[in-house]
Symmetry: C2
Subunit: 349 residues, 2 copies
Amino acid sequence: MKEGKHISLKDLACELGISISTVSRALKDSPEISGEVRLRVKALAKEWNYRPNPFAMSLLKNTPRIIGILIPDIVTHFYSSIITGIDNIARQNGYSVIITSSYDSYKAEIQCIEDLVNVRVEGIIACLSQETTDYLHFTSLEDLNIPLVFFDRICLPDVFSSVIADNIESARLATLHLLNTGSKRVAFIGGANHIEIVRQRKHGYLQALREYRIPIDKDLVFCKYMGYSEGYEGACKLLSLSNPPDAILAMTDSIAFGAMKAIKEHRLRIPDDISLIGYTDEMHSNYVDPPLTAITHQTHKMGQTVCHLLLKQIKKREKPQQIIIPTYLAVRESSVKNNQRVPPTKNTI
Amino acid sequence: MKEGKHISLKDLACELGISISTVSRALKDSPEISGEVRLRVKALAKEWNYRPNPFAMSLLKNTPRIIGILIPDIVTHFYSSIITGIDNIARQNGYSVIITSSYDSYKAEIQCIEDLVNVRVEGIIACLSQETTDYLHFTSLEDLNIPLVFFDRICLPDVFSSVIADNIESARLATLHLLNTGSKRVAFIGGANHIEIVRQRKHGYLQALREYRIPIDKDLVFCKYMGYSEGYEGACKLLSLSNPPDAILAMTDSIAFGAMKAIKEHRLRIPDDISLIGYTDEMHSNYVDPPLTAITHQTHKMGQTVCHLLLKQIKKREKPQQIIIPTYLAVRESSVKNNQRVPPTKNTI
DNA sequence: TTGAAAGCGTTACCAA
DNA sequence: TTGGTAACGCTTTCAA
C-alpha cells in the first residue's frame, strides 16, 4: 500500500508485472489494450488510490491549469464575492485558483504579479491597487504570453480585456435620484483621480448636475483615497463648508460608512439634513441606521464574467473586449428626504 | 529571448556554451564555480528573465510548497480575515495557499478535500461545514500522510491539532454581562448541536445562568442552524413566547443581524426591551442600529496561529495540540439597558 | 497488444 | 572547477 508516499504508475506496473506504458494506457482507456489488463490495472489503481501527479503533468504539458487572481484585499465583501464567482467558473473548467492581495500597495502588487508568474499561472485576473499609476508590470506579461484580464479598477482598455460596472450611468442615476427626492446640493466623495472608476463615477455625477442645470461647485467634490477614514474626513470637510451639501454620493461602501459616522457626529439627521448613497452590495447596508441606499453590483456575475473572459483568452488570444455589468439602485431610507417619500423599489429588501 | 515559452536552464546553457549543471550551480552561488562564469550566467539569466520551473522542482522534491484551506465560504468576514492571517504566514515561509469552499455542504466538503489532495498540497487547514457529522474524509488524510489542522469548527481533537476561541468563557462572560446590565431572562440562539462550538458556547451560557442561580428554561434556547434566516426565525419564536426573553445571546454575527431584524419588526427597542449580543469581529457591528455589543475574535491572530501549527506539522509530525485564542467583549449599545449604563470598555470604538 | 526509451526542467552525485 | 547522468512521474513515439 505504500503508506505515506504517493502511488505512481511505476508502483502499479511493478505490482502487476507489466510496463509503465501499459498501465498509463490502460488507465486512459486506450483502445489498444486488452480488456483483461485494463480491468486489472483499474482495479489496483482504485484499490491503491492512485492519483496522477499534477506536477509531472504540468511539467510535461506546460499547462498547470491554474489561474491567478490579484485583488486589493480579500476581506472587502465586494472582492470576496467576485472571487467566489471566479472560483465557480474556474472549477467548472478544471482550473484551480490562486489568490494574491496587494493591500492597495503598488510595491506589493508588483510582487504579487511576480509570484503569480513564478508559479506559472496560465492567466491572471486583476484589480488595480489604488496606488498604481504605472502599468509596466502588467504590460510585461505580454512578453511572457500570459493573458491578463481586469475587473473594476482597470487600465489600458485597448490592451487588456476587462469587466466593469456601468459606472457613469450608475452615478448619474444615483445623483438624479437624490435630486428627485428633495436634495438640492449634492456632494461627491471619491478616490484618487488617476483611477478610472473615480473619473467615470464623477463624470456621471457631473452629468446629472448638468442635466438639472445645476452649476458645478468644486468645493462639493472631495477626492483623495477610497477608504473609511477618508470618507469620514471628506464628510467632515463638506459639512464644515459655509454652504454645506444636503446630500452625499459616496464612491464606495467604506467611504459611505465613514461619512455616516461624520454626519452622526455632527448631529445631523440622515436623510433629512443630509441624504447619503453608497456603492456597495453588502447586506450590511440594510442593517445600518438608517438603511443605506446603495448602487448594487452584481458581484457574482462580474466574477463569472471575468473568468469566462480569461478562459477564452487562454484558449485563444483575441483582441481585447470590455464587458459592462449593469448595477441597480437599491433605494432604502438614507436617500429620500421625508417630505419626498416615494414608494420603495422592488429591490429594497 | 524565446518569446512566449519559458526560459529553461538548457536554454541558458546552450547560449553560453556550457553545461546545464554549471548553469544550475552558478545560479545558486555554489562555491565551486569560477566568478567569471557565475557572472556571465547570472547576467544572461537576468536578461532573459529566467525563472525556475516550480513543477520540475515539485516533481523532484515532492514538496510543492502549497497548503490547502477548506472553509465554509470566503465572503464571511470572519473567514476572509482568518485567511489573510494564514496567507501572510504562508508567504513568509515560501508557501502558496489554495482556498476551497464547502458552502456548508458535506458533499462539497468531501470534494474539496479530494481536490486538495489531488493538487498534492503539503498540508490542509480546515473549518468544518455545518452539515458535517462524519469525519472519514479527514481521517483518511492520515494514510496519505497529509497533516491537517482545524480552526473554529473542529473535530477529533485527539487526532488533529486545532485553534479555537475561548468559546465557553466568552459565552459565559457575555451572559454575565447581560445579567449585570439589567437583563433577567437571557435567551440563546445557536446552531446544530453536533457542532463543537455550539455546545461550548451553550455550555458557557448555561454556566453563567447557574452562577446566577437562574433556573434553566429550555424554551429560551433555539438551536437549528447558524445563518441569518435562522437568527430571524429563532428571535421570532422567542419573542412570541408567553414569557419572552429580555436579552438574546446570538452565536454568530449573521444570527445577530437576523435577530435584530425580527426584534425591529416586533417594534421592540434594543436594548431596553431586548438586549442583544453577537459573535463577530466585523466593523459593521459599529454601524448597525444600535451599535452591536459583540464578542470579538482575534481573527488575524487565529489565522497566523493555525498556519504556524500546520507548518510545524509539515516539518515534523507531532502529537496534536490545541491552542485557544482569547476573545474580548466589545461593549456597545445593544446590550446595556438604559437604567443600567456602565462606562464603555476601552474596546468600544 | 505490449514494452522501451526519450523528454519535460531541475538537482545531486560521481567523474574528470 | 566543470560535465555527464540518473532521477522525479508521466505521455508519447517507435519497435517488437
